[in-house]
Symmetry: C2
Subunit: 321 residues, 2 copies
């Protein structure tokens, strides 16, 4: 069992080259561009980690890992168009650097290329991998649609937000792990445990992301702190605050949606603090972390093989132990 | 061997129902909408026709036919966004009726759904079908990119246009036929002949489409006659006219690109006529029709089974015999 870092290096070595034909350059340069601006490649490395949890790392896992990373980047290109985002990871988004038609098409061809990698897998594994890939891809699209729908919805419940975030971000992490497990010959039950490990880890990560947006150290977080508050996003924190606030606090929160003063973030944080939102968020993250770890514990594999996945969970959730 | 019409009815019966889940309705209603505004379903019926050419019509063929029609409609939704087209078949395009983010996502989820249908095919057939589907999907994206690139290119050669149109429209017809042949157990050689039949038929159809845009009967054509001329499209006809025109005619054609008077179409047609473009286009269409029919002839199947495909060719190319 290699560490996350070692498997990252193996994946980078496999993936860090042009993934597309040369021509038409107008199309494929745009697709290659987003791959070149990096990212932590967490999802594809999860394929390799789960593959090694059950078996020997093989070439099929590298193909599926590439498919997952291509699919993830397809979704980033199209989401950035829909969200009209000018920047990603500090670099121009694809539709900003090129143009919108090219970005739509570069995303399309990247999704096709993802399926292309799946078609290269050992034939016996193609049907189960393809079915899980399709199910997950549909869920990711549904999650993005729900996220857009929430922008115009006056109230969003905790459960609705949880469902949206699960679809939009957690299921791809979960499916990456399950695909690695499938290729490693894992039983259906072990596949399910590793899927649930990933899904709950993803939810815990999102709770943390929502928390850091409000309370993070601007230098470490890498994004504008308070960005969700400024954009009136209905995050875990905001939804909770609205549900526990006094009528006065609730009215103030709602009126702050219309407010654009420079102290908007601080005014919202004052109410969050009065509602103990930070403590609540820490407990929610811990809840999903524990569910995730229980599923890893219940995976029927000798404990010593699970070290790398435990390290991954601690790394993603910024835990010291 | 059933006729095109009979197989159309079988496909419609299979496909003429909601193809997506109910929720989120904002996403799936938009996807279903474009399917509901019709189309001749030529490509999926080609899957069934080729399947029956070699074997018994089976459920796998219906799944692959559905995948092809879903993929085709995905490409229409996204092309309409890129082309800023307000109407399709006289109805609002998806991004006009809903909005652009929803149209992008509805296209995405339709492509995923197309792959979903492939995953339902008998496992033994999935790898070859998936590989051909991927190859073709990439080519369709490349064709659309070339088409967009041509808008800003000052000169486009006959061969460049032929390549673009082959990728953008012919390969999907060709692949539909080959997929039906694969499911019918056809030999590699027969698969290749039926693919080439479809590819050349598609090219002949495009030559006719370019011809009808300039010379068609407005009542029968169903589109604005002269639309390509008004949009300065570099069609087979325009490229040919530019290549055979006298220097004076060529200069006039080029200056007409900048002209927007109500007699623009007539002025261009006058030069087309002086260059005998209509006769040339008729010969070009005939050339590809003959290549297509030779491939059908060379397909090693008793001649009586080929009737429906011959009828299809005559129907698509508006031939009386």
């Amino acid at each position: 069992m290699r560490s996350f870092k070692e498997l990252s290096a193996i994946f980078e070595n496999h993936f860090n080259k042009r993934q597309f034909p040369d021509a038409p350059a107008t199309l494929y340069d745009a697709a290659q561009y987003i791959l070149s601006i990096g990212g932590k490649r967490v999802r594809p490395v999860c394929v390799l980690l789960a593959n090694e949890l059950f078996g020997e790392l093989n070439n099929d896992a590298l193909n599926v890992a590439s498919a997952i990373e291509l699919f993830h980047n397809f979704s980033l290109i199209h989401d950035d168009i829909m969200d009209k985002a000018p920047l990603r990871r500090g670099m121009e988004t694809v539709h900003t650097k090129y143009n919108e038609p090219t970005a739509i098409l570069a995303g399309d061809v990247m999704m096709v290329e993802a399926y292309g990698r799946i078609s290269e897998v050992n034939a016996a594994f193609i049907p189960p991998i393809l079915r899980l890939f399709n199910k997950t891809s549909k869920e990711v699209c549904e999650g993005q649609q729900l996220d857009m729908d929430f922008e115009t919805k006056s109230t969003v419940t905790h459960d609705e937000y949880l469902q949206m975030i699960t679809l939009k971000t957690s299921v791809l992490l979960a499916a990456s792990l399950q695909m690695g497990a499938i290729l490693g010959g894992a039983s259906a039950q072990n596949q399910q445990h590793i899927y649930e490990f990933g899904k709950n880890l993803g939810i815990a990560f999102q709770v943390q992301d929502d928390y850091l947006d409000a309370y993070g150290d601007p230098e470490k977080f890498g994004k504008q702190v308070g960005g969700d508050i400024i954009a009136n996003k209905k995050t875990f924190l905001m939804i909770h605050a609205l549900s526990v606030a006094t009528p006065e606090q609730k009215n103030e929160l709602i009126s702050l949606f219309e407010y654009n003063g420079s102290d908007k973030v601080q005014k919202v944080l004052d109410i969050f603090n009065a509602c103990d939102v930070a403590v609540w968020a820490g407990e929610l993250k811990e809840k999903y972390y524990k569910i995730a770890m229980q599923h890893l514990e219940d995976t029927a594999v000798v404990s010593s093989r699970k070290t790398a996945l435990k390290e991954l969970a601690q790394y993603l959730l910024q835990r010291d132990s």
